[in-house]
């Protein structure tokens, strides 16, 4: 679909947690402007893939290679990956009492601005900036003054993840189970927000169990992950088929074909 050097190139990636292999050889290429969906049954390793890419310290990369804009991703700590333009929206965002959402957002924004040689924003400037951004995710203003994610409902936390994405403007956003904990209306709002943020120079990797979210955020590529391997890759029509038929047939087909 899109030509050129891939933004993200994953080659034969293997990873384990506490000595147990979870990813058993992943190959995937994502180019700027593309939207990919990783789908799969629970325990398939799809969330692990997101965490490994984001640099979660509990996972050990045991083999393979990941290049992000030509750079070896594993040479970078999690924070350097973020500053380089990688973003992961968490399935379960963390609560940080005592730090206001607004000051955290400003801090994150300014750290990235500093890394990119742009001007940092003072609290007043940031106030104007963030008030535009919260409209995108229909977040109420009071959530800026509250402690980061503290006491937020599941949906409010997800709203806040997409707000962070809007503030940080990553090149590649990995959204892990964005739809969990969201009602249909909130899902539509956040799906629309993600679509508005998508541009020709950005890419999205949607990790999801349920195809529902892919009705709003429409991927060009759908991959089924199971047992730590990508069993099938296809266009967006695969999501529809998974919605109708579930995952079992993909697993059976893969077993029959002996394919990975």
């Amino acid at each position: 679909m899109t030509t050129g050097v891939p933004m993200l190139s994953i080659k034969n990636l293997t990873a384990s947690i506490h000595g147990t292999p979870v990813l058993k050889g992943i190959d995937l290429e994502i180019k700027a402007g593309e939207i990919h969906a990783i789908m799969g049954p629970n325990g398939s390793g799809k969330s692990t893939l997101g965490k490994v890419l984001a640099g979660h310290p509990s996972y050990e990369v045991t083999g393979g290679e990941v290049l992000f804009e030509g750079q070896n991703l594993f040479e970078l700590e999690a924070d350097a990956r973020a500053r380089a333009g990688l973003f992961m929206g968490f399935q379960h965002p963390i609560e940080v009492p005592g730090v206001s959402n607004a000051s955290f957002l400003r801090l994150a924004y300014n750290k990235k601005a500093e890394a990119e040689g742009r001007d940092e924003l003072d609290p007043l400037e940031f106030d104007d900036f963030i008030h535009e951004k919260i409209k995108l995710v229909s977040m109420r203003e009071e959530f800026l003054d509250r402690s980061l994610n503290e006491g937020f409902s599941g949906g409010e936390k997800k709203r806040n993840e997409i707000l962070q994405m809007a503030v940080l403007e990553p090149k590649l956003a990995i959204l892990d189970e964005l739809d969990s904990g969201l009602d249909i209306d909130a899902l539509r709002v956040l799906g629309d927000a993600v679509n508005k943020l998508q541009r020709a120079d950005r890419a999205l990797l949607i990790i999801t169990h349920f195809p529902r979210i892919l009705e709003t955020i429409q991927p060009q590529f759908v991959h089924v992950l199971s047992g730590g391997r990508i069993l099938k890759s296809s266009g967006k029509e695969l999501a529809v088929e998974l919605e109708e038929r579930g995952y079992d047939w993909v697993l059976e087909e893969a077993a029959a074909g002996g394919a990975r």
Binding site: E77, A78, D79, R81, A82, F90, V96, P97, V99
Partner: protein, 425 residues
């Protein structure tokens, strides 16, 4: 070992002339002290807090000295301030021009009407050595009386300052009485420099339906010993909310004692930020004496270096105190391998229809929280500092006086190395 020196310390201080006022109270305290000694680590209540550092220090009564308080003024309270230096009233540093009519905010030495109330809060037994020492030798203190149904619009500010050139002992004293339906915000601060022993005693009486919000800031000097007592009785439907923030002193101990009558509400929060060889000990006692009272206690410590934090939270629910709702949390953050925390919830429940919960955590920063912040571009040090700051600042969220809240946040930022992160308020 320490016993001989300890007696010496008590004897030396009691050998000083007894002030003339409150003779009866003082004599009773002295009589109890005659048979007692400073506690040692053999006393269960003092197992983790060793007073032997008092060894070899000869404390003399603190003289009245001039003091510069310009750095301690808070804009909301410029005209509602009483200052005590070394336990003596400092009229030139004080200013009460904005104290609303009807409120009595005076030095004890000029408030004879308070005579009968002083020393009456709490059980007439089990006084600690340091409380008795205060009663025996305090030279002055503050009295606050708020009449029936008066809701005081401005917060009151109390500064207790100790300035020691040679080791001195000072005995700050405070009596707060809120009559029925009265409301007050009070900020009580302790500052100091030099080597000293300070043993403040605070008595609080909250009448029916009255509300007291009491912010307590301990910023004593690095070489100070702060051994404090707080006693509060809250009548039916009254509310007492206190927050004690401990930053200073090489050794500090807070002993709040609170009795709740029917339907009373209480929060008893604490924060201690410790480093070096500091020791901070809180031994709290909360008595649900009657039905349907609620209490909420959140005690947090951040312990670095070779410092040590001690928390012992005793909650008693009396047999007929049905409908009690008591919640206690002790949360401790260890920032070094050599830091130490001893925490012990102690709930004694003698009623059956109650809701009581407690929890204690001691640990380092959560790796999942660190990862979350790092995944947003904060480097490992910044992430650690931000989480440490947040852990402490959480206790400050509801400090009612804006300038105080700002000042405390800045202090916490500096102490948690979060000041490089910019304005986090």
């Amino acid at each position: 070992m320490s016993t001989a020196t300890a007696s010496h310390l008590l004897a030396d201080l009691l050998a000083t002339p007894r002030p003339a006022e409150w003779a009866e109270l003082r004599q009773a305290a002295e009589a109890r002290l005659a048979t007692r000694d400073l506690p040692t680590t053999r006393d269960e209540d003092w197992k983790y807090t060793d007073l032997k550092a008092l060894d070899g220090l000869a404390f003399t009564p603190a003289p009245s000295v001039p003091v510069d308080i310009s750095g301690l003024l808070l804009p909301e309270m410029v005209g509602t301030r009483q200052v005590f230096v070394n336990g003596h009233h400092a009229p030139h540093a004080s200013c009460v021009s904005a104290v609303p009519a009807g409120v009595r905010f005076l030095p004890l030495s000029t408030a004879s009407e308070a005579c009968h109330a002083l020393g009456t809060v709490g059980p007439n037994a089990n006084q600690s050595v340091f409380e008795d020492l205060n009663t025996a030798r305090f030279s002055d203190g503050a009295v606050i009386l708020v009449p029936k149904n008066l809701k005081v619009a401005l917060p009151l500010h109390l500064l207790f300052i100790t300035k020691a050139e040679a080791p001195v002992a000072s005995f700050p004293r405070l009596l707060v009485v809120l009559e029925r339906g009265a409301e007050l915000e009070l900020v009580e601060e302790h500052h100091g420099e030099g080597t000293y022993l300070t043993c403040p005693v605070v008595e609080v009486r909250v009448a029916e339906g009255a509300i007291l919000r009491h912010e307590r800031v301990q910023r004593d000097g690095d070489e100070a010993f702060h051994l404090g007592t707080l006693k509060a009785e809250v009548a039916k439907g009254g509310q007492y909310h206190s927050r004690t923030l401990s930053f200073g002193a090489r050794l500090s101990r807070q002993q709040p004692w609170v009795r709740l009558a029917e339907g009373a509400e209480c929060s008893l929060d604490g924060l201690a930020l410790l480093t070096g060889h500091q020791v901070a000990d809180t031994h709290s006692f909360l008595l649900h004496a009657e039905p349907n009272a609620s209490s909420h206690q959140l005690h947090k410590c951040i312990v670095d270096g070779k410092a040590r934090a001690v928390f012992n939270g005793q909650i008693i629910v009396a047999p007929h105190a049905q409908g009690t709702d008591a919640k206690q949390q002790s949360r401790n953050l260890l920032l070094s391998e050599t830091a130490q925390v001893d925490t012990k919830p102690q709930l004694e429940i003698y009623a059956d229809d109650v809701k009581c919960s407690h929890g204690a955590t001691v640990g380092a920063l959560d790796p999942e929280e660190l990862f979350y912040l790092q995944s947003r571009g904060l480097n490992a040090d910044d992430a650690r500092n931000l989480l440490t700051y947040g852990f402490a600042a959480d206790v400050l969220t509801h400090v009612p006086v804006a300038s105080l809240r700002r000042a405390l946040r800045q202090l916490v930022m500096a102490r948690t190395q979060a000041d490089s992160l910019g304005d986090l308020s």
